[in-house]
């Protein structure tokens, strides 16, 4: 209940500036519109035509998933990093609550409008190109839930870096540029040349965004799908264990400024 209240309060604060809400909404529209427009130009020359509708559906769903799971430029990691840099984390560490869920609630609440818009874009994307079968939709849900876990763990890792380095913001920027390309947010992983595609699928990045979107095309348990499921479960579990261990270790080392 506490964390829901934090989420709600963070969400309502944003409404102090209604023009900011409109601008935030327009930013998402601009980003998706230009991505779809760019890929429509690409399809005019592509050897294998994905189709404009295919690309539009892909980027609508991908950008929605990115916002919901907080993959690239994760607001959850940003909230942790900001609190560490400014020292406001001390306020939360003193209180009898779990710090990570607080930051998660703050991140979700502050960007609540974006989250609502993300759901809308996913729905539009699904309407443009619906899942092939009901099983495809179940695969989508499975990969989406795992994407949430993977991105959650990754955000904790990113945010915890701020305990250890004054350069953490720059390092975070560097990593997020990589995520933009290798998560499938900027370009579908299926367009990568074969050997590289196999390599990147072993990393956690594609499973934050490309995994759920691609799952809409899955219709049965082929060997490839079983392999993908194994990889995604591995990263969901491993990344969160590593992230929480790293967080616990960093908190023990943390020296606060002040009394």
């Amino acid at each position: 209940m506490l964390y829901l209240n934090i989420l709600r309060f963070s969400f309502l604060r944003f409404f102090s500036y209604p023009y900011e809400i409109i601008a935030t909404f327009l930013r998402t529209v601009v980003e998706i519109a230009f991505l779809i427009f760019f890929w429509s130009l690409f399809t005019k020359n592509a050897h294998d035509s994905f189709g404009v509708v295919g690309f539009a559906s892909y980027f609508l769903i991908a950008s929605g998933i990115n916002e919901l799971v907080m993959a690239q430029w994760g607001k959850f990691a940003g909230a942790i990093g900001e609190a560490i840099k400014t020292g406001t984390i001390n306020n939360y560490l003193l209180k009898p609550l779990s710090v990570l869920p607080v930051f998660y609630a703050i991140a979700v609440g502050r960007h609540g409008v974006n989250k609502i818009l993300a759901i809308v874009t996913i729905v539009i994307g699904l309407l443009l190109q619906p899942p092939q079968t009901f099983q495809s939709f179940l695969f989508f849900l499975f990969f989406f839930i795992n994407a949430l876990f993977i991105a959650y763990g990754w955000n904790i890792l990113e945010g915890t870096m701020f305990f250890h380095s004054a350069d953490a913001r720059g390092m975070r920027n560097a990593v997020n540029h990589i995520i933009g390309v290798f998560s499938g947010l900027l370009i579908p992983i299926s367009l990568f040349p074969e050997p590289f595609k196999g390599f990147f699928k072993m990393t956690p990045f594609p499973w934050m965004i490309f995994g759920p979107v691609n799952a809409l095309k899955i219709t049965d348990f082929s060997d490839e799908v079983l392999g993908d499921i194994a990889i995604v479960l591995f990263w969901s579990l491993t990344l969160n264990i590593i992230a929480h261990l790293f967080w616990s270790w960093s908190i023990k080392k943390y020296e606060a400024i002040g009394i």
């Binding site: 760019f38 130009l41 350069d167 920027n173 560097a174 390309v181």
Partner: protein
């Protein structure tokens, strides 16, 4: 204007600009650790975009008539545009929002200096944004381009340079107009970010030839984000008439500067001080 007043006009601004450049350099080099992280960030961005372009062109031979080499040139010009505007204008405009909210604008307005000029060139980040952040990753792009495939004539090269700088003026005007609502609304960060996103996508992501005439007027004149990168690249590649685009850019820049002056004066009349 008398000759002495004319000299004083430029001398005042020159002294202010020199002081801003020196102070900015001292501030940027105070914490060297920040520098490595920043270089890492820009290098990774450039590498990820080079990978993106390479992956794109494994699937196609041209996009809107641009070969891979042409697209790399477009990316190169786009990066030059970004680092230049980020060093000279964009961050100063973001700071203007903070200046208004914290009341620092009062301090600027009460001082006997040209306030608009000062706000525009408050920090000139030549070292951090151009030398430190811009040069290392740009070298990677320069090495990726096959320069022997291009044949730049004197007219196209000189027009391209002029277009680049006129485009920077237009970008600054757009950024200024996007932050000035802070005077009335109390906040305009998202409006600024919206303008920056439009510039990123319409100006540096899709070449001029990808747009029809209506969008060229929209993003070349009304929201002039295309001049610095798209116009410049198109002229260099010989895809557009340099004189036509140069005249277009000059008209848009002049109108833009007039609008900036008018908006500033109007904003000052509406400005109520943050202090008591």
């Amino acid at each position: 204007m008398k000759q002495s007043e004319f000299k004083l006009f430029f001398k005042e601004r020159f002294i202010l600009l020199k002081a801003n450049i020196v102070f900015t350099f001292q501030k940027e080099t105070a914490y060297w650790a920040d520098n490595w992280a920043s270089i890492l960030s820009t290098v990774f961005y450039t590498l990820s975009m080079l990978i993106f372009i390479n992956v794109l062109y494994t699937n196609v031979t041209t996009i809107v008539g641009y070969s891979k080499n042409d697209m790399l040139l477009f990316f190169f010009i786009g990066q030059m545009t970004f680092y230049t505007t980020w060093a000279i204008s964009a961050q100063n405009m973001q700071e203007f929002i903070l200046d208004v909210n914290r009341g620092d604008l009062d301090m600027i307005l009460t001082k006997p200096l040209p306030a608009l000029f000062y706000i525009t060139f408050k920090r000139v980040r030549i070292f951090s944004n151009i030398i430190r952040d811009g040069i290392p990753p740009t070298i990677a792009i320069v090495l990726a381009i096959d320069w022997s495939a291009f044949h730049f004539g004197f007219l196209s090269l000189s027009s391209a340079i002029a277009l680049f700088f006129l485009g920077q003026i237009c970008l600054h005007v757009l950024q200024f107009v996007s932050v000035i609502p802070v005077i009335w609304l109390g906040e305009s960060t998202s409006i600024f970010k919206l303008a920056f996103d439009v510039e990123s996508y319409a100006g540096r992501f899709i070449p001029l030839e990808g747009f029809n005439m209506y969008f060229r007027v929209l993003f070349g004149a009304i929201f002039p984000v295309m001049i610095s990168t798209s116009f410049t690249t198109s002229v260099l590649l010989g895809k557009s008439n340099p004189i036509t685009l140069l005249i277009w850019a000059m008209i848009v820049s002049i109108i833009g500067l007039i609008i900036r002056g008018v908006v500033w004066r109007f904003a000052l009349r509406s400005y109520t001080s943050a202090s008591s």
